[in-house]
């Protein structure tokens, strides 16, 4: 048996059998981790009010070495529940969406600086969202950062084909995950037209601290372009429609161009 004592973020919890819960955790050491909490729905002493969505926990998990069997969640102590995420429907919608994105895309059993970075992003984004009233703009900025934290960072500064500066007639080539310059654009099909202003604001969104993202205020045209670009980028590189997307779209409303 090996034991992991770590911080964790609860991404998802599903009732299992009569008294157990299966939890999906994000940890800085391992990335995504699935564990079974035996007797979680009965034992208030072992898991007092802790196995809830968005909860930042300190957990103790044991695993059979080399075995493929599920890990056991032995103990969980609450660090922070991010209660404000529940208080505003748009916040709840966006936070749920980000959590689902991580639940589906985070590396499993992965190690190293990337899982550490992903975990930091997850905590700082939930904490930042607690004080925000999300709209489409906030959603796009956070979605871009979530994709970046998951290793899906669009290249916005240099042409993904030749390395040149994008220039005025640049476009975004979804399949290659980045901008293409005006001369490379002519040789490709399905390049999305995008204004330099949009690329600039998205690049700033990648560079800013998460808790300062709210200060970025792209114009209406940039929001529409970014929405289109990120939507296609996400669909192509994530490859699936998230279940929480519909509620998020409904909560935020459609962009006004």
């Amino acid at each position: 048996m090996s034991r992991l004592v770590s911080e964790a973020l609860l991404l998802r919890a599903v009732d299992f059998g009569e008294s157990d819960r299966i939890v999906h955790l994000l940890t800085p050491e391992t990335g995504r981790l699935t564990a079974i909490a035996k007797g979680a729905r009965r034992s208030v002493k072992r898991f007092p009010g802790t196995l809830d969505l968005f909860n930042h926990l300190r957990v103790s998990v044991s695993r059979r070495r080399g075995g493929r069997a599920m890990a056991f969640l032995e103990r969980a102590v609450l660090i922070s529940p991010f209660l404000e995420l529940r208080a505003v429907p748009t916040r709840y919608a966006l936070a749920s969406y980000l959590l689902e994105l991580m639940d589906r895309m985070a590396p499993e059993g992965g190690a190293g600086p990337d899982t550490q970075r992903l975990f930091s992003f997850a905590l700082s984004s939930l904490s930042a969202l607690e004080g925000m009233a999300p709209d489409l703009r906030i959603r796009l900025l956070f979605e871009l950062r979530a994709l970046d934290a998951l290793g899906l960072r669009p290249e916005l500064r240099h042409c993904v084909r030749c390395g040149a500066e994008p220039g005025v007639r640049a476009g975004f080539y979804v399949a290659d995950g980045g901008v293409v310059c005006s001369s490379c654009t002519v040789r490709l099909e399905g390049v999305l037209p995008v204004h330099l202003g949009t690329l600039r604001v998205l690049q700033q969104a990648l560079d800013y601290d998460v808790d300062r993202l709210e200060r970025l205020v792209p114009g209406a045209q940039a929001v529409v372009e970014a929405r289109n670009l990120l939507f296609r980028f996400q669909r192509f590189h994530v490859g699936l429609e998230l279940r929480s997307e519909r509620f998020l779209d409904e909560s935020l409303g459609e962009p006004v161009a």
Partner: protein, 199 residues
Amino acid sequence: MHSSPAMERLAASLKRLPGIGEKSAARLAYFLLSAPDSLLTELADAVGRLKSDTVICGRCFNLSDRSPCRVCADPRRDAGLICVVEEPADLAAVEKSGCFRGLYHVLGGTLSPIDGMGPESLRIDELAKRIAAGGVGEVILATNPNAEGDATAHFIADRLAKSGVRLSRIACGMPLGGDLEYADHVTVGRSLENRREIS
């Protein structure tokens, strides 16, 4: 294991029930084979009638044998007070407390975007319609005090904000027989916030 096609068919059906695996299904099938005929008849009859004899109340969406259900049809209940719960089992729990004399509204779940459950999957429009019809003074939001339940309560409160009806949320804090030492700090904090005068 010795078996027959009939046993295998039963075990295969049982296996589709939640929380029942291959072994439990086989064990149950063997148990039923050796059980008295009266038990089998009773069980078969109960399963057979389950759907036809269960009605969802058209007003509060409680499970009942009639619509409107006994609670909705009871003239002694306070029709100006609606307690909103997630599931019929929660309604039963509130009824059992004996502390509530109003009517209910069963949502049929909670807002859980990650499970694909949006407001359209819940009976929120129906609740808004009941309130718009008039006569309701207060709505008690009694969804569970977890992330989904809290978010659902806030969503409904937003939806009903302009209706003029009084909105309240069930109190949350230390459970009876609980132990402060073992409680998480949020529960302890909420218990203090929701404290009441002692006389």
